[in-house]
Every structure is written in structure tokens, then in C-alpha cells.
């Protein structure tokens, strides 16, 4: 799949933003006043910034509001509905925390639930696609949810939970890569089933339909950079999980140093998740590539 920067930025930033909103909604930390304002500003900048970035890949962004209408069948529509609902509910909760010095617990929990649901619906947009076996796995929602919660805990400064959630997210990432590498083979789809000619012998793409490129090849058959996949996986794993874990577990004295290390952990995690998300797209093989003798 073509790794569109808009979609990588969207899933990375909004995943982190909604992860932070989950923790803020649960009252971890139960901040008020100016501190709360800063926390919510960061969460909203990430979540809303990500959502806006996602509209850049639309052919007709001015009609984006229509995407809220088909929640009965479409995961993309459900994501839009959940995101809007989460942002409205958490805005009310944030108003109470910032200006009225009060935590409306029920509203906070609802907002946290909706924020987590937003991340889940995002993951289901990819998981539902049978045409992309590497995404059509139970581990795909696990990747999105565990990354979001680990990043949220890191940003929220949840010292007790963050190391565990980072470790879980790292483990899910490794499992996703291991299983994903076999997904196309185990899906049973190949050029033989794609053409229906597999029973007659070995099928080979002899001549493509055109001499140039087309939308399908540009969008679905992205092979550039796959040769660096193993190196990028190491970079993603180290930056995303190992280094942040090391940084927050390092025993240090002093408020400033501790916050500096925490900030570095967040930035490292963000960079790691972005690399992992790039691989998520670049390594995903769409079965339409088979028709072109590619994968």
C-alpha cells in the first residue's frame, strides 16, 4: 500500500491524542486549572490535528461531513462519529476541570470510552479489508489500541502503568510482524485463484494491460523501501518501545531532569510509532498486485 503521509500522520498523532484523552477522562492524572488546560491542549492538538491531516488525502474534502452518515455499515463512518462524540464529551469534561475545578466522573468515563472506541474504529477500517491479508488479522486492532494506550500513559505521566503498557505494545508489535509476514501466503490467494487459471498450471503475468503506471499500481503496489524493512523494524522497535521504557525507568533525582527524560521518551515513542505506521502501509500487500505479477 502507498504510505500516504497524511494517513500516517493521522493515525500516529490522533492515536496518541485519543490515548491521552482516555487517561485524562479516567482522572489519571486528575488535573485542574492551568495544568489541565495544558494537558487538554496537547491532547486536542494531537487528536484534531491528526483528523485534519486525514482529510488531506480526500479527493473532495469539502464533502467530508457526509462521512458521518453511514455508521450502520461503514467503519470509516463509525470512526468519524466516535471521534466527534469523544471530542465533544471530553471538551465538556475539560471545561469542568479547567474552569470549575471539578471532575464530572461519569462524563469523564464516557469520554474515555468514546476515545478508546475511536482508536478501535480506526483500526477496524484496516482490519476489515480482506483484500489486504496483512491487515485482515485480529492483531491489527491490538496494535492500534496498545500503541494508543502506551503513548497516552506516557504523555499522561502515568508512571505505574506506562512501563507495562509500553512492554505490552512492544510485544504486540513483534507478534504483528511475525504473523503479518505469513499473512499473504496463508490467505490462500494467489495469481491462480485471482485468474481462476491456477488449476491448469503455473500462471505468470505475461503482459500488463498498459505500458505506463496507473492508480492501482500507485495506490496498492508500493515496493519502494521494502528492502529496508528489517532495519526500519529495529528502528521502530527501539525508538517506539525500548528507549522510552529505558528513559522512564531510569532512576533520576529532580523534577526538571525527570520531566526532560519523560519528554524525550514521548518524542522517541512518537518517532517510533510513525516509523512503525510507515511500515504498516508500505509492507501491506494488496491482492490486486497479483494481477500485475507483483506483491
Amino acid at each position: 500500500m502507498h504510505p500516504a503521509p497524511s494517513v500516517i500522520l493521522f493515525t500516529t498523532f490522533s492515536g496518541l491524542g485519543f490515548g491521552l484523552l482516555v487517561f485524562l477522562g479516567l482522572g489519571l492524572p486528575a488535573v485542574t486549572g492551568t495544568v489541565a488546560f495544558v494537558f487538554y491542549a496537547i491532547a486536542y492538538a494531537l487528536a484534531v490535528g491528526g483528523l485534519l491531516a486525514s482529510t488531506f488525502h480526500l479527493g473532495r474534502p469539502e464533502r467530508a461531513w457526509r462521512a458521518l452518515t453511514q455508521w450502520k455499515t461503514s467503519w470509516l463512518s463509525r470512526e468519524g462519529v466516535c471521534a466527534v462524540a469523544a471530542l465533544i464529551v471530553m471538551a465538556l469534561y475539560a471545561f469542568g476541570a479547567v474552569f470549575l475545578d471539578s471532575h464530572w466522573t461519569l462524563l469523564g468515563w464516557t469520554g474515555a470510552g468514546l476515545s478508546l472506541a475511536t482508536v478501535f474504529t480506526t483500526s477496524m477500517i484496516y482490519t476489515q479489508l480482506k483484500a489486504i491479508p496483512r491487515w485482515n488479522m485480529e492483531l491489527t486492532p491490538a496494535v492500534f489500541l496498545s500503541f494508543s494506550l502506551a503513548g497516552g500513559a506516557l504523555l499522561a505521566g502515568a508512571e505505574d502503568l506506562a512501563p507495562w503498557l509500553l512492554a505490552i505494545a512492544g510485544a504486540v508489535q513483534l507478534a504483528y510482524w511475525a504473523k503479518g509476514d505469513r499473512a499473504l501466503e496463508t490467505s490462500g490467494t494467489n495469481l491462480g485463484t485471482a485468474t481462476g487459471l491456477g488449476g491448469r498450471g503455473a500462471v505468470r503475468a505475461f503482459e500488463p494491460p498498459h505500458t505506463g503506471s496507473n492508480y492501482l499500481l500507485r495506490e496498492f503496489v508500493h515496493v519502494v523501501g521494502r528492502k529496508h524493512a528489517q532495519k526500519l523494524r529495529i528502528i521502530a522497535f527501539v525508538l517506539g518501545f525500548a528507549l522510552p521504557l529505558l528513559l522512564i525507568l531510569t532512576p533520576v533525582q529532580g523534577f526538571a531532569v525527570k520531566h526532560l527524560l519523560a519528554a524525550l521518551a514521548v518524542l522517541s515513542h512518537l518517532a517510533g510509532v510513525a516509523v512503525s505506521r510507515w511500515l504498516f502501509f508500505a509492507q501491506a500487500e494488496h491482492v490486486v498486485g497479483l494481477y500485475y505479477g507483483k506483491r
Binding site: S74, K130, Y291
Partner: protein, 258 residues
């Protein structure tokens, strides 16, 4: 709503004969021509006369080589367009309701006024039947020439999809695949029509007729050959004398046992 209809009154679709298709791409061109001028936004080209031309097509013809375990390889031309699936994933993923399957004839269409060009329907299609038009920013796909097949302004013979009307080899057939007594259904039953990627669970309406087995090339391919065999292996008479005389000349003779 982008819910799929539980049942469609008819299942209009194509039957493509892989035995007959000669790979001339006439269907590709006639499709592009008709659909650029009629239903919905035109099918744009990018850099059509430049160094890297590309464009939107609703129908493309691939060519495959099939090598059986024994015997000769076979070249098969393979036209591919929307299969108007019964369980079309492209319809249910649409967030705006722009993508829909018609109850009356099962045709899968895009309401281009509602399409936001997110591309998710193209992602969900295993067959690569949908292409986002770069000029218009909306999704394009085969309409089964919905503006021809019911068009009373056209002579009756033209009320079939443009690709079917054009095919010079008669490799494309159009009809109701939901009616077991229709010509296309009979053709599918007779020739063992098949689905593409049945494991995807899309239940395509369009069917492909497999190529017939090729004639086997025996050791003896021409029954007249024995009658045309040379009657004398060794030259006789004047030719025998000439042969010997030439052999005696200095220099090397090329070829031949003598």
C-alpha cells in the same frame, strides 16, 4: 444507506470467454470512449502525451501465460472490470453512502455527487475494479453501461454495454445471471463458468469461461506426410554422377552425409 440489498430482482452482469478473447483491447477503448462522454465525470488522463502517461480506465486487459506440468504453455488474454459482486465490500465500506448496489438489477454504482474520494472502496476491492479519477477527485467504476442498456433512444442492438457491443471476437456476453434460463446462465453452466478469487467471499456476478483444452500435438501431425516421403534415399543416375564429381573437386562440401 450503504447496506447491501438482501436480494436483487435481477443479477445483470458479464460473461467473459477466455477461450475466445484475442486480447485486442477494443473493449478497453470503447469503454473509455463511451464512459468519458456519458454517465458521470469524464475518465481523465494525466500527461496523455507526456513522458509518463496514465489515466482512468474501467476495464483493462491483462495477458497471462499458463504453463501446465506437461505440454505447451498457453497465452490467455484476460479482460477485467467490475464484477458487480453480490456481497460487494466496496459498498459497505463507503462512509458517505455514495457507493450502492441497485435492488432492481444488482448494478454497483457510485453517486459521484456524494463521493468524497477517500479511496476506501478501491482499497476493499480485491479485483482492482475501482479507480480514483485524479482530475475529478471521485471514484470511477464500471456502470455496466447503465446509460445504454435501458436507453430507448438507442437502437435495440446497441442496448448492451459498450465493451460487449464492440468485442470483435464475441468474447463478451451480457445478461441476467440470476435467471437460470437466460442465455448467459446457460453458457456458464455449459462451459463451467468460474468466479475470480472465490475465497474472498465477494460472490461475483460476472463469470469467466475457462479456455478450452488445446489440441494435443502428436508426433505425427500431418497424415499426408508419409505419402510425401522421398522415394530414393541415395541419388541415382545423373544426380549420382554429379554428386560424385562434385565430391572429387578440392574444397569442403557443407552439409549432407555424402
Amino acid at each position: 444507506m450503504t447496506e447491501l440489498p438482501a436480494k436483487t430482482d435481477r443479477k445483470m452482469g458479464l460473461v467473459i470467454d477466455l477461450d475466445t478473447c484475442v486480447g485486442c483491447h477494443a473493449c478497453v477503448i470503447s469503454c473509455k470512449g463511451w464512459n468519458t462522454e456519458n454517465y458521470g465525470a469524464p475518465l481523465s488522463d494525466q500527461e496523455p502525451y507526456g513522458g509518463d502517461p496514465s489515466g482512468t480506465f474501467l476495464n483493462r486487459v491483462h495477458s497471462y501465460e499458463v504453463q501446465p506440468e506437461h505440454g505447451h504453455a498457453q497465452l490467455i488474454h484476460f479482460p477485467k472490470s467490475c464484477l458487480h459482486c453480490e456481497d460487494a465490500p466496496c459498498v459497505t465500506v463507503c462512509p458517505t453512502g455514495a457507493s450502492y448496489k441497485r435492488v432492481e438489477d444488482g448494478i454497483v454504482l457510485v453517486n459521484e455527487d456524494h463521493c468524497i474520494g477517500c479511496g476506501l472502496c478501491a482499497w476493499s476491492c480485491p479485483y482492482g475494479a475501482r479507480e480514483l479519477d485524479l482530475a475529478e477527485g471521485v471514484m470511477k467504476k464500471c456502470t455496466l453501461c447503465v446509460d445504454r442498456i435501458y436507453n430507448e433512444n438507442l437502437p435495440e442492438i446497441d442496448r448492451t454495454p459498450s465493451c460487449v457491443r464492440t468485442c470483435p471476437a464475441g468474447a463478451r456476453h451480457f445478461g441476467d445471471l440470476g435467471d437460470p434460463d437466460s442465455d448467459v446462465s446457460k453458457l456458464v453452466a455449459e462451459r463451467g463458468g468460474m468466479d475470480l478469487m472465490p475465497e474472498m467471499g465477494t460472490k461475483p456476478v460476472n463469470k469467466y469461461l475457462p479456455p478450452r483444452p488445446k489440441d494435443r500435438i502428436e508426433d505425427q501431425i500431418d497424415i499426408l506426410a508419409p505419402l510425401l516421403a522421398p522415394v530414393a534415399e541415395e541419388p541415382q543416375g545423373f544426380l549420382a554422377w554429379l554428386d560424385k564429381a562434385l565430391d572429387k573437386l578440392p574444397g569442403q562440401s557443407s552439409g549432407g552425409a555424402n
